[in-house]
Structures are given as structure tokens and as C-alpha cells.
Amino acid sequence: MKKVVMGNHAVSYGVRASEVKVISAYPVTPQTHIVELLSELVANGEIDAKFIKVESEHSAMAACVGASAAGSRTFTATSSQGLLLMTEMLHWAVGARLPIVLTNVNRAIGPPWSIWTDQNDSLSMRDVGWIQIYCESNQETQDAIPQAFKIAEEINLPVMLVLDAFFLSHTYEIVDLLETEQVRDFLPPYNPEIKLDTNDPHSFGNLSGPDYYMELRYMIEEAMNDARGVIKRVGKEFGEHFGRYYDMVVPYRCDDADLILVTSGTVASTTRAVIDEMRDEGIKIGALKIRVLRPFPFKEVSDILCSTKKVAVLDRNISFGNHGVFFQEVKSALYGKTDIPIIGYILGLGGRDVTPKVIREVADKAIKDKNPEPYINWIGVKR
């Protein structure tokens, strides 16, 4: 059934269709609609789940950890400061290998206080061990939920789904809503082999000395590595069930491009419009959307970018002291494979609008810019 819904509510409907058993969350702008609708759906019986109210995001994730360890399919949503408050528990979910799914609405971190979008909140959790998938449309924010559970439950790692504040969270689009019965064929019920069980009690998360800590970390990295194939396969299977296919990256008119703009999130769709405009002008330009940041799609990124002559990476984030995160990631993917210029641009922080005009400015600049000077290219800073 197609319906016009806001991005946040698309997330809620994705959760409804995934037969989640435990939801624990704390409200935070601009995520609040997600759990607000979920609480209503739980209250009116549309979702057969336990909704655990908590006093903080730390507790929300702690509750999810407990519920997931007990064998329940578990979901939470948060944003910005809330995500940061969860940090300790986010690490726990990884070390305990719990398939929790979290939707994070990208919101800039204060101070200065801000409710508008940029990616620094989720990117500050880049190295925790959560799979990170950046969504572009309301449809994708919904479709990503059952995929995320399927991936998480197969490899025993948690998945963080990310969407832009307001540009997606509060924007209404037509979404083909998933029905629970259809999803059930795609996503079987969660029945883990090992879980908290009062009849067979085990101790979890206990101390591990230097003898085995590394092995346990090694296994997490192994799972991350396996996740590459699983994400691709699950995206394909989802397409087979619902007609919408998903992959690690989304290239656009890249085949003969001399310049490829690398983007993520909602900037990706704006960029595609600019690409069309420039192609009409005869400029050989393409775009590559990076959908999955963790595990990083090294092969896909390098396969596509090695065939072009110049790469411009658009970062809606800043890794203070080392440019933008996507820029770092792309450079590391191409290391030793090509000597084409890779240029990074920082834009749209704290919700500053990234319009087609801004992207055109970046593209025009990128055509002229040489690598690596200037090292950091700030777009639109009042200097």
C-alpha cells in the first residue's frame, strides 16, 4: 500500500513490518516521531512488542542489550547527543554480538546547540563495530529496517541506519509500505541459539584476559568482513521480494566520467540532478553514492573510481585535523591503485542547505582544482 509519509514514520512502519519484540527509546529531536508512532502502534496492538520507557539513551541501549541478549528482536532510534550518550552501550552491543537495529537521525552536535543535520554524530561511532548504512529516501529508510535485521541476525553484529535530519526525517514522500505478512517470508523470526535463559543460565560479557581478547576482536572483524557479502545478498533478496534492490554503493553515470562526485545521504539525489544538468552541457561527470560506510565497500569504490580521472568527495562532516571522513575512506580505498587526484570538500554542516547550486559550485571547482592543494576545501564558509 502506498502512502505519503514522513521519513521518520517510514522508519516506524519498517519496524512494524519486521515483527520487532522489544523497543526501548528516549525521545530526541529530530527522531521523536519514530518512537512516538512506534509507541502508538504498540499501544493499539499493531505491533506485538514490549515498549520500554527509559530515562536516558544510555538506558535505552542498555535495555536493548538485555532484550536482545534474551533473544528478542530489538529496535531503538536516536539522534546526535542521544547517540553520544549511548556510546558505552553501543560498544557493548558489538562485543556481546547482539543484532540490535538502531536508526540514527543525523543531527549536528552541540555546542553551538543545533537540531539540523550533519553526519558527525554517526561518524563519531564509525569505529565502534556497528554496521552503518546511510539512507537517501523515505522508501529506503523503511526498506532498510527488515534488511538490517536480516543482516544483523546473520552475522551477529548491530546495524545503525542513518538518515538526514529534516531533509529526510520531516519530509513527506510516497512510500510503498511493507506488510508484515510479506516481510515474514523475507525475514524469518529471530531464534538465536544462545540467549539468556533462566533454565540454562550462562554468564555473558565476562572478563577475558590477554589470552583470548584478541581472538574475540578478530571474530568481530571477520563478521564485518562477511557482512560485505551478506549486505549485497540481502539487498538483492529484498529486491526479489519487493522489487526494490539495494547495494553497497550506487553509481550514477560513472562509466565514461572524467570526474566523479562521491556523496552520501540526501545530498546524493541532489547531486544526481546536477550531474544530469552538466551532462546536458557535455561535461563527462558522474556520481557515486556510498550507502554502506561500515563495512567499507573497498572493492566497489575502487572498481568504479579507478576508471575515472578525478574524484571529488563531498563531506557533510568534519574530522577535525584530518578533513572529512568519506574523503579519508575513499583515499584509503584507492591507495596504491591509482594516482588520480582525490579532492575533498566540506559542506552543509549544521544543516546548511546543500542546493543544486552548491553542488554545481563544487563540481566546477573540482574540474579546476588540483590535488592536493588546498588540502581542505570549505564550501560556503563566510571568510
Binding site: 554480538r97 544462545i194 543460565p201 550462562h202 554468564s203 555473558f204 565476562n206 577475558s208 581472538e215 574475540l216
Partner: protein, 559 residues
């Protein structure tokens, strides 16, 4: 339970840190590797008491105003707290942990107060058990004999108590002046003991004269000898038998009998023990100018320190490092004494430095009366040679007073030589208990384990410093005038003030600290104890740390 697991490859490992076996044996999972346990220790005061009185326990009962139960607790180990509460050298207080913090708890005064309550409440004494068929003869009615008689009679065994004198009490009656132990108190104590069970009394009966030991052996199932040391040691110098020279013990006996004594003369007392102090202070009260002459210095005096201090305050003179060398008599009457000056040499077997004569240094004193108080010895006529003796004392095997003869037991000074009242009480009880065990064919109890306990085991943050509550007393001036008892016991207010100072070393007194501090509410209050719910105890040991008195111990988990 705990065993080492080895993995050769990560492939053998679970993907997350977890126990492979289930944790039903330890429901806190791997959290707890040590656990707290309630583990009461034996308080040092109890170990310090020769009679093993459960001091910590009766003090806690007093705090709860359970005075009868407190008194009953003492009576389990000592039938005469009103006596020991007055005359005991209280080694318990020397062991009191509080002594290393501020001042030891005044256990002696607490005991005395409870003892007096016992005399005032004759109904507190429970009736003895049903009369048993065995009969026991107890010879001597001093602290050892009275104690033995009490514990035998209370258990239902018929006791016949033989006493040489016309009244019971032995050294308690004849050897201790009334200003320390009034006769009325002693009478009250003896009455309560005699009322505790089937005891018949035969006074003015000397075993060996009026009745032979052999007859007692024939007529009784067991005999306890507690005759004490009632003969004064002699100085062994010339003219010792002249008029004016007397044994201090004889003098005390006359004083205690109420004899009207001539007292105007200059008096010298030889000796440094409690008898010397009692004699000197008694003579002082009778109007004498009294000098105590002791061959060592004050530091070596065996008398209780407070007795020496009181004697000094009352005006008794002391002359240290001197010993009588010669008594000069005129017409059969004492006139002068020649003293040898001494110095301290090497320590002797008692650890005290030996007095050595200073060559050529003597002095002479004009003396009206000379009292000897250099120790007492036994009169063993009537007991040898059936009963083995050693150094003029009865020889026993072990702590229960068993002599060479199967059914004859002994205890008190007659076994140990001059010792304390409380040691005699302890010996009488232990012998009585042994006799009962022989009668019913029971094995000896295991020896009590001595635990080390000191101020380091007390969490002193929970206590504020305070001074010991002293016994109320009459003034020195008042005291010197006669034989009125100097110290009085506590009233209830003072009693409560002093018992509140007890640390309750090593023994839980339900202060609730553990219960309050436990972060997992794993401590459960029961009516008369706490329990630890190990399903929730994470082994953080906050309870052990915060127990003010080390009533909790630590056990390793899985062992």
C-alpha cells in the same frame, strides 16, 4: 566449577565472552569470585578472662536492657560476679581492643553491677536440674570450692562442702578487707550458690582430722580439693616468733572477724602483693603509721596497680629495695628491725629483676608491729601421700584438675600457687564440668581456637573517642576512716553509658551497617541474624569493609 579452559583457535571459541557451562552454582555469573560470610570471632576480652566469661555477649545484652539474661550469661562461667566485679585483676580489660583506641571498657564495673543485680534478685537463679545419684565432696569453700560446688549442684549432683572455719568463703572472707569486699556481699553470693542446688555444708571440719580423705573416697563418687594457701610464709630470720611479729594473713582474718585490735603502734608490712596492700591499708584504718617494705621496686610489685595507688593516696609509706635482715626483740617483744638494702640484678625465672643485697648497706627502724606478707603456702596434712604433690602443691594433669587419683580433682591456689580469684573460680568450674563428664561418660570439648584480633580489625571511623566510665567512690579521706566499701557499682545510666563503648569485637551486634551498605540488597534481615542472598551478592565486599567490628570474613568462591 572453576576450571581452566584452553582454546587453540578462535574457531573453538564462542563469538562472545561467556561461560561455557551454566552458572547455576553461582547465580551472579562470573561477578563474584570471593564472597562475604558472617563469621563471629571470639572477642579478645573473652580470651583474656581466665574464666572465659562471654563478656562481649553480656555487654550486648545489657545494651538491650536484658539484665537477667546478661547475668545468666556470666553465671555460665562464674558464679560470683559480685565478688570478681570487686576484686578481680580484670585481665579482660588488658585485652580490650578499646584500650588501643582510647581506654578499655570498664568490664570489671559492669560485671560488678550485674553481680549486685543478681544478689538483689534471688529469683534470677534457675532451679537446679533433677537430683542425680552421684555425690561429690568439695573440700574448701574459697572461690575454687564454691565454684566447683555451684556447677555440680546446679547440674543436680549432691555436694557436701567441707570448710575448716566456722563460716564459708575462704580467702574471700578472711583475706580480703571489707572496704574491697563487704561481708554482706560475700554472704549474698554464698547464699545464692548454696541455693543453686543440693549442697550441704560441714563447717569447722578439717579433712585429715575430723574426717579422713579415705572416708570421703568411700562415701563420695568424686572429690574436689580447693583448700587454697592459708599458711603464711616465714621470713626465716631470728626472733620471728616474738610478740609484735605476725603473719599478715592472720591479721586480716582478725580484722575481718571484727576483733578489736590495738593499733597505735608504728607498723611495718613486708611484701609487695595484694595481701601486703590489704594488711597495710587495714592497719592504717586501725590508726597505725604504716610503712610497706619491699625488696624490689614499685614496678615489680605483684599487687594490683590500683591497690598500690589507693594505698599511697591513703598515706601508706613505701620503702623499696630493702629486706628485713634481723629482728631485735627486747623482753620477748619486738623493738627494732635491721634492714638490708638491695639493688636489682639480673631477671629471675618470673622475668622480674632479682633483688641483690648491697654489701654493707643496712639501716635500722624502730617498729611496734611487723606483718609478714611475703606469700602463702599450703597445708597439705591429711592429703598426702595418696595425692601426688609437687613443690608443696597438688599436682594435676591438664586443665581439668585431674590428680593421680581417678576420682580426686583439685584446683585453685592449691594447684597453681598464689594466683587470682578468677583463676580459682575457673579451675573450680572446669573441674566440676570434668567430673560431670566423667559421670555421664562424655568426651572433653575441643579446645577453643584463639583468634588474633586487634584495633586493626575495628573500623574506627564508626566510633568516637570517649573516656572510661569510672566507678563512683567515696573520697580517700572518707575511706581512711573505716572499712566502708570504697567503690560502688554503676547505676543504670552509668551502666548504659559504659556498655555503649563496647566495640563488640568480631561479633555481629545487628548494627545494620552491612544491610545499609549492600548495593545489591543481598543482605536479608532475619529476627536474630542476617543472611546473605548469594543469588544477588556480587562479592563486592562492601559489607566486610564497612562492618565496624570484623564480624564478616571473606571466602574464595568455587573452592
Amino acid at each position: 566449577m572453576s576450571k581452566q579452559i584452553k582454546f587453540d583457535s578462535y574457531r573453538e571459541m564462542p563469538i562472545r565472552s561467556m561461560t561455557l557451562d551454566n552458572m547455576l552454582w553461582n547465580k551472579t555469573g562470573s561477578w563474584r569470585n570471593v564472597k562475604p560470610v558472617y563469621d563471629n570471632k571470639v572477642s579478645p576480652c573473652i580470651l583474656g578472662c581466665p574464666a572465659g566469661e562471654n563478656i562481649q555477649h553480656y555487654i550486648q545484652l545489657v545494651i538491650d536492657k536484658k539484665y537477667k539474661e546478661a547475668w545468666e550469661t556470666i553465671i555460665e562461667s562464674n558464679p560470683m560476679p559480685a565478688v570478681t566485679g570487686r576484686v578481680c585483676s580484670h585481665p579482660c580489660m588488658g585485652k580490650c581492643t578499646r584500650g588501643d583506641y582510647d581506654e578499655a571498657v570498664n568490664i570489671n564495673a559492669i560485671e560488678r553491677t550485674l553481680g549486685d543485680m543478681g544478689i538483689d534478685n534471688p529469683g534470677w537463679m534457675r532451679e537446679s536440674e533433677k537430683t542425680k545419684k552421684q555425690k561429690v565432696a568439695v573440700i574448701g569453700s574459697g572461690p575454687a570450692g564454691l565454684s566447683a560446688a555451684f556447677y555440680l549442684a546446679r547440674a543436680g549432683y549432691s555436694v557436701t562442702l567441707y570448710e575448716t572455719e566456722k563460716a564459708l568463703g575462704g580467702v574471700l572472707r578472711w583475706g580480703i578487707p571489707e572496704y574491697r569486699l563487704p561481708n554482706c556481699v560475700l554472704d549474698g553470693v554464698i547464699e545464692s550458690i548454696l541455693n543453686s542446688g543440693p549442697i550441704s555444708v560441714k563447717t569447722e571440719t578439717v579433712v585429715g582430722k575430723e574426717i579422713k580423705l579415705k572416708e570421703l573416697e568411700d562415701n563420695f563418687d568424686a572429690i574436689f580439693i580447693g583448700i587454697g594457701l592459708m599458711e603464711s610464709r616465714k621470713l626465716g630470720i631470728s626472733n620471728e616468733d616474738c610478740e609484735g611479729v605476725e603473719s599478715g594473713l592472720e591479721y586480716l582474718k582478725r580484722v575481718n572477724s571484727g576483733d578489736n585490735l590495738d593499733s597505735s603502734k608504728k607498723t611495718v608490712v613486708i611484701g609487695g602483693g595484694n595481701t601486703a596492700m590489704d594488711v597495710a591499708r587495714s592497719a592504717l584504718r586501725k590508726g597505725s603509721d604504716v610503712t610497706v617494705v619491699y625488696r624490689r621496686t614499685q614496678a615489680e610489685m605483684p599487687a594490683i596497680a590500683s591497690e598500690i595507688e589507693e594505698a599511697e593516696k591513703e598515706g601508706v609509706n613505701f620503702r623499696f629495695l630493702a629486706a628485713p635482715k634481723e629482728i631485735v626483740a627486747e623482753g620477748g617483744k619486738l623493738s627494732k628491725v635491721l634492714f638490708q638494702e638491695m639493688e636489682l640484678g639480673e631477671p629471675d625465672e618470673s622475668g622480674r629483676r632479682r633483688p641483690v643485697p648491697l654489701e654493707g648497706k643496712t639501716f635500722t627502724m624502730e617498729v611496734g608491729r611487723l606483718f609478714t606478707a611475703i606469700g602463702e603456702r599450703a597445708d597439705l596434712d591429711g592429703f598426702g601421700p595418696e595425692v601426688d604433690t609437687e613443690w608443696d602443691l597438688i599436682k594435676v594433669n591438664g586443665e581439668f584438675g585431674e590428680t593421680n587419683k581417678k576420682n580426686i580433682f583439685a584446683g585453685g591456689d592449691i594447684v597453681t600457687g598464689a594466683a587470682s580469684v578468677v583463676e580459682a573460680v575457673a579451675a573450680g568450674r572446669k573441674a566440676a564440668e570434668k567430673i560431670i563428664r566423667v559421670f555421664i561418660g562424655e568426651a572433653d570439648p575441643p579446645k577453643q581456637e584463639e583468634t588474633e584480633f586487634g584495633i586493626e580489625n575495628i573500623n574506627v571511623d564508626y566510633f568516637t573517642k570517649s573516656n572510661r566510665t569510672l566507678n563512683p567512690r567515696i573520697s580517700v579521706e572518707e575511706a581512711k576512716k573505716g572499712f566502708e566499701e570504697i567503690l560502688t557499682g554503676f547505676d543504670e545510666q552509668l551502666l548504659q553509658k559504659e556498655v555503649d563503648r563496647c566495640f563488640s569485637c568480631g561479633v555481629c551486634n545487628y548494627c545494620d551497617n552491612c544491610w545499609v551498605y549492600c548495593p545489591d540488597t543481598a543482605i536479608v534481615r532475619k529476627d536474630d541474624r542476617y543472611e546473605i542472598d548469594y543469588d544477588y551478592c556480587k562479592g563486592c565486599l562492601v559489607c566486610v569493609e564497612e562492618c565496624p567490628r570484623s564480624a564478616l570474613s571473606i571466602e574464595e568462591e568455587g573452592k
